[in-house]
């Protein structure tokens, strides 16, 4: 049989166990409603931008003395995003990511998301993206400057740009990594951009591994100008709020935009064969200052998407606190593990962890878990909170 025929057979077999359309349609309807809500929320962006601008100004005013105790957190109204212009010269900033920069003449803010996108007027194919990100400490530009070269941050997934790498320094001494340095009309720079916690808060070591990513690309004709502006941002982007040693003392932070990972790992279970551990880790992917409030529950559903009754399931568990600081776990991650045991029903069911309640529950992707082994048909299946790190 030729390799082409084998491939055809393979693709048919591998994709044979498709997903249920009925359950998927319910998920689709929820997604469509969320998208409509986001469009409506966009109308409020102007208001939020003004509000966050006021917050950032108050935070960076030099005459304001930093408090010595932890201040209570005030949660800013939900709504995207935390990008704003400051008064005076054209400046753009993301306060919760701790940076601001000048927008050059002839350029505009192209998009408002969890990164700042700039582009030259009249050239939509050229872009500069600026935002914070965690780079692998092994190659991160902050190693040796903001954390030891031997530092190990276990339990965290990092962005790991491919090589070749080259390092340099900005005029202010911060180290800069140029990754994926293969020439052409694209550059990926990472500037050491450590996060500083509020005074009095035990700061997780991971916060010092934050970097400011400046990524730019353009068609050949626009490349010289885009490169000039991009490299100027690498050199001149300014730290504000939580990137200053005094930390973000405003106490105001938006709701977290969360990444979530559900991990089926045997390390959390003494008896993995009969238990099914469901672990959720909550980490703000930009390592920004934000307030987490998430009510989470485990729901067991059949193939048609209908919820099934399991003892202890569907009991929401609320996690609340400030990320990335203020966490007990040195990695800066909130983690909750449920244990699902003794499932003697049909095998074509799955459990998922879902956010519930609140006006804007976190919209998080779900990993679905298969049911545990049947141990005793006379006893009910149970779901219990097994371990919480917060």
């Amino acid at each position: 049989m030729s390799v082409e025929e084998q491939l055809r057979n393979l693709f048919e077999q591998a994709a044979a166990n498709g997903l249920s359309s009925a359950a998927a349609y319910q998920r689709y309807l929820r997604r469509r409603r969320r998208r409509a809500m986001l469009v409506r929320a966009g109308a409020g962006v102007g208001f939020v931008a003004l509000l966050t601008a006021a917050v950032a100004i108050s935070a960076v005013l030099p005459q304001r003395a930093a408090p010595t105790a932890v201040q209570p957190t005030t949660v800013a109204p939900p709504g995207p995003p935390q990008v704003h212009y400051l008064p005076g010269p054209r400046r753009a900033a993301i306060a919760v990511q701790g940076f601001e920069l000048d927008v050059p003449t002839g350029w505009l803010v192209a998009d408002l998301g969890d990164v700042l996108w700039l582009r030259p007027k009249g050239e939509p194919r050229a872009k500069i993206e600026v935002g914070t990100i965690l780079v692998s400490p092994r190659i991160g530009p902050g190693r040796g400057q903001f954390y030891p070269t031997t530092a190990v941050f276990s339990g965290i997934g990092f962005h790991a740009p491919s090589g070749p790498y080259s390092y340099s320094r900005r005029p202010d001494g911060r180290r800069v990594l140029l990754g994926e340095d293969t020439g052409g009309s694209q550059r990926n720079y990472y500037v050491a951009w450590p996060y500083y916690c509020r005074p009095g808060v035990r700061c997780a070591p991971i916060t010092k591994a934050r970097t400011l990513q400046i990524r730019f690309y353009a068609p050949a004709a626009a490349w010289p100008e885009v490169r000039r502006v991009g490299e100027a941002i690498v050199r001149d982007a300014r730290p504000i709020t939580n990137a200053l040693p005094s930390g973000d003392t405003s106490g105001v932070r938006p709701p977290c935009q969360l990444n979530r990972v559900i991990e089926r790992a045997d390390i959390y279970s003494p008896n993995y064969r009969s238990d099914r551990p469901l672990t959720v880790e909550l980490l703000d992917s930009r390592l920004s200052a934000c307030h987490l409030r998430a009510a989470l529950q485990v729901v067991v559903r059949d193939d048609a998407g209908q919820p099934l009754s399991v003892s202890g399931g569907q009991r929401p568990f609320v996690l609340e606190g400030d990320l990335p600081e203020g966490s007990v776990d040195p990695t800066g991650v909130y983690r909750i593990t449920w244990r699902w045991t003794n499932w003697c029903g049909p095998r074509s069911v799955h459990a998922s962890v879902e956010a519930v309640g609140g006006p804007t529950p976190p919209q998080l992707a779900l990993e679905r878990a298969q049911p545990p082994r049947c141990v005793d048909r006379k006893r009910p299946s149970k779901i219990n909170v097994f371990r919480v790190v917060r």
Partner: protein, 173 residues
Amino acid sequence: MSGDDLEFRDFFMAEFERLSRLGFLLTGDWAEGEELAQDALVRTFRQWSRLGRGKQLGAYARRVLINRHRSLLRRAVVQARHALQTHVAEGYQPDLGEDAMVLWAAVRRLPDRQRAVLVLRYHQDLPEAEVARLLGLPLGTVKSLAHRALARLRAELERPVEARAVGLRKGRT
């Protein structure tokens, strides 16, 4: 429920499985495959009244899915987000025979563009010119990507069994 909604529901039921399978084969992960399919269908619904009711709707949704996959691959931001999810690195393993398992592992190790070309050619049965259009690549590039990918798979299948076993173990760590 409006008439548009009812029609779209039928369209969804007819297309979702096909799209999620395509997403799965492109990414190797059912959750990501569904994510791509859902996103493509939400975007298709937004254009529903403009596109009319012709047969091209399915092709349109497929094109949206492939474009979305391409842009996800391009965007370092999204790559980083995925990198933060390395805890779920253990990939989905379909229930296959031993030879097919070797081929599946080899396909999973192919570079993204090579894998996308193979999926579109041999799962979607699209001509090379259409693959080139969908991926935004010159026809010659598609041909050479397919040639290189097939050569790698042939080489993998011709390796001795012992060497394959070592390769498989490495691939799983």
